[in-house]
Homo-oligomer: 484 residues x 2
């Protein structure tokens, strides 16, 4: 039960008043907290009370008032006591106002602080889902939710879904829950308690044109209090103010996707000119990203690597078809001309503001560690990581694809060739990553999208073979024989 | 001068106190506002005062206090009077607190409202400079500034500058002003008064890594008060919370630029395979955008049109060089094969999430209004605006460029050919827009970037010629002869 003291920020004036009542007006003052009653008793402390001035403490108006029954008694009492009660009353009313205002101010201030904090966290985040994840985490932390979910528009108006600590089963049950089904159509935020006792906060996400384009869900454990109207308002304000960042990020992600797909489509068109390179860029991109993922590259780096891989033979636009498609042996000049395709790629890409590591990756795929590659004859550290990865991906696809003069090689043969040239032509870690990717090959991976066209010598023993080969490559050159 | 009443939200308790002082304590109460003094006088109203209890009103502590000289007098006075003064004092202190808290709350609440309002305005805005302009306008309105300026990072870390009501001369003077030169290095926001009396608010814009990457300036007229510390803080908070949107928009704009330039570079590489089409896509894109601007297309539409124009001959990747570069007359089959290049363009672009009007623009450039075009033989309304524009741009460039079998035509001849086929092959408004663009041709326009290679028959009479031609095209077919 709250006491009068609890309701005063500063008890100084109360003390002053009690002292005045006791010493000047000679009243014995007792404050009985248990039922919110205070009693003023006239008479000496400890002595028998001669008069009582009971007054009740009203939480509603936040002050001290006399109960109706005692109005008469109070009217008849000393005017000094009446004034003192009025002063206490007025003071308490002000303090209540101050408390309410301060609480509201703290709430507003915490919203602004929250927005500043979130702004610092999401600035420069380039991935839409990562950004949603940060927002879910931060809001959950702020409103003490332990599970959350967002459904919203993704790149191409498809649905993006980000979930925190919520299983698909729980999600399905959530979307089917009664209170949502009944009230979701109103388009307003909803707070309700689910059958399992958890408190749910639901917020529709609106577009500029007021159309609902997404939904946010927050859950609080069953043993905790329900979400409040304030928390509902808080989430709404945050969502509203943060939405331009998401809208822009959605545009950005869409354009990133468009960029990759445009480069991919052009690479496919160039590959398609020669029946033997049909699908080559696509496979090289998949192999490169598979290797990159094994090498723990970040999502952004993998995107860049994929673009570089799709661009690696772009320069073939500049090589005449008569040479590219020549069935027989090439003359030295023709061969030199073909070797210039990375130079053409460079010429096409240089005027563009494309990140340098992407250009390097695209134009170095024929360079070799020992300097025997082309067109620059770069060696060792002069060759970038992207260049090393695309080189291995390119050779692996070339070996395992059909050529006019030979059949497609089985994976084992291709891998032996790569492994034998580790450190001489190819980067050891890149080759090891390819071997690991073949061992980790699971349905749904990038690798599985292309590996179904590969031929194998002996599928049963593939893992044993890969392990042996991995061991061979992982052993320093001094400790091993010349070839596999 | 402020009075005691001014400092009370609610004068009810003051009235109550004055009544108590007058009726119960028998004091004559006078509140003298002019010097902030209140005087309590003991004695009958109107009668001669027997005792004085002067107390001063202290604005600093927001309450009523006795001046030092009167402490003694007060101590000796009636304890009821002392209590009453204490009650008024305490009340006034609380009210002062409440006022301050309320003001702070209003400020916070207006910041949140401002953020919500700005969020609604910038959501979906795709152009970085437009977005900065909105922000400058909104902040200026909120802090009552009439001139503003932002310098910040643009697409490729180049500087973007957006100015509102500020001339370049004023800007130069501003950047050279003393208070900025002296204090800008501290990296803190600055408020100062310029020599011309205007108040300046300067805010450095910081990156995630705390590096200063931009600057905002707001000016208030000389006849108005200086900017306040609160306004400085306000602008800082807004900038901080809005910055992720700008960072993302910067990425988006950079990528848009990259996309356009990549398509442009590839188009140039394809054009370069044939000496007669060298630079063709670049010129077609410039002509198309010039026409589009005359037709009052929006910035976004012009961007899309430019991309479509750069893509219009992309499908030539799929046409063999032997046919493309064949010097003599083509066989019917060869001609049919060449006519398939828009089909190849379509095949390349269809799998991509490219806006349909861009694809339509690219693949319809050989369609003609009367249905005599290829590859679809579309007619009239089946041909999109972008298709009509790129068709005219494509033919205009083909006619004014050198071919193996003829020289480049003078502009006049090319225009006559286009004008004669208005409504039959070409869109009347599109041709009129091209004629207008030639008349409006000024240095610095898109058109001037390419028009310097054009040949003219008689430059002196060009405008007269263009006017006559415009009149001819603008006249409905019934009213004109068969040819120009
Ligand atoms: Fe290559
Ligand atoms: Fe064409």
């Amino acid at each position: 039960m709250s006491s009068i003291q609890d309701h005063l920020f500063d008890t100084e004036f109360l003390d002053q008043s009690l002292q005045y009542l006791g010493e000047v007006l000679n009243l014995q003052v007792t404050i009985q907290d248990s039922d919110g009653q205070a009693v003023l008793t006239q008479g000496q402390p400890g002595g028998r009370a001669s008069r009582f001035y009971p007054f009740s403490f009203s939480q509603d108006i936040g002050g001290l008032t006399c109960t109706a029954a005692d109005q008469e008694a109070l009217a008849a009492c000393e005017p000094h006591i009446a004034y003192c009660l009025a002063a206490l009353n007025s003071q308490l009313a002000r303090e209540e106002e101050l408390r309410e205002t301060s609480e509201e101010m703290l709430a507003l201030s915490s919203q602004l602080n929250f927005l500043s904090k979130v702004a610092r966290k999401i600035i420069g985040v380039e991935d839409l889902e990562e950004c949603y994840q940060i927002i879910l985490q931060e809001i959950s932390l702020a409103i003490n939710a332990d599970q959350s979910l967002i459904h919203t528009r993704g790149r191409w108006d498809d649905e993006v879904e980000v979930r925190l600590n919520i299983t698909r089963e729980e999600e399905a049950a959530l979307l089917e829950c009664d209170c949502l089904r009944r009230r979701q159509d109103t388009g307003h935020p909803i707070i309700c308690t689910l059958d399992n006792g958890k408190s749910l906060l639901y917020l529709p996400i609106r577009e500029k044109d007021n159309r609902i384009s997404g939904r946010m869900f927050f859950l609080r454990p069953a043993n905790q209090r329900q979400f409040t109207a304030y928390e509902k308002k808080f989430v709404g304000i945050i969502e509203n103010i943060i939405s331009p960042t998401f809208e822009t990020l959605r545009l950005y992600d869409s354009l990133q996707d468009l960029y990759l797909n445009t480069v991919k489509a052009l690479a496919a068109a160039i590959d398609a000119k020669d029946e033997y390179t049909h699908g080559h860029s696509f496979r090289v991109a998949k192999y490169a990203v598979t290797i990159g993922r094994q090498l723990m590259l970040s999502g952004k780096e993998l995107n860049d690597l994929e673009i570089a891989a799709y661009m690696h033979d772009l320069g073939k636009i500049g090589i005449s078809e008569s040479i590219l498609g020549k069935p027989g042996k090439l003359t030295n000049e023709e061969f030199f001309h073909i070797q210039q395709h990375p130079v053409f790629t460079d010429k096409i890409l240089q005027p563009i503001h494309l990140a340098n590591h992407i250009i390097q990756g695209a134009i170095q795929h024929h360079e070799r560690l020992d300097g025997t590659g082309y067109p620059m004859g770069l060696s060792g550290p002069e060759i970038s990581l992207f260049g090393r990865i695309i080189a291995v991906a390119d050779v692996f696809d070339a070996l395992t694809s059909k050529r006019p003069y030979r059949d497609a090689m089985p994976v084992e043969t291709a891998l032996k060739i790569l492994c034998n040239d580790v450190d001489k032509q190819f980067d050891r870690n890149v080759v090891l990553a390819l071997l690991q990717a073949l061992q980790d090959n699971v349905p749904g991976s990038e690798f599985s999208e292309v590996s179904n066209t590969l031929k194998f010598d002996a599928l049963q023993n593939l893992n044993l073979f890969l392990k042996e080969l991995t061991e061979f490559v992982a052993t320093p050159p001094a400790g091993r024989g010349r070839t596999v």
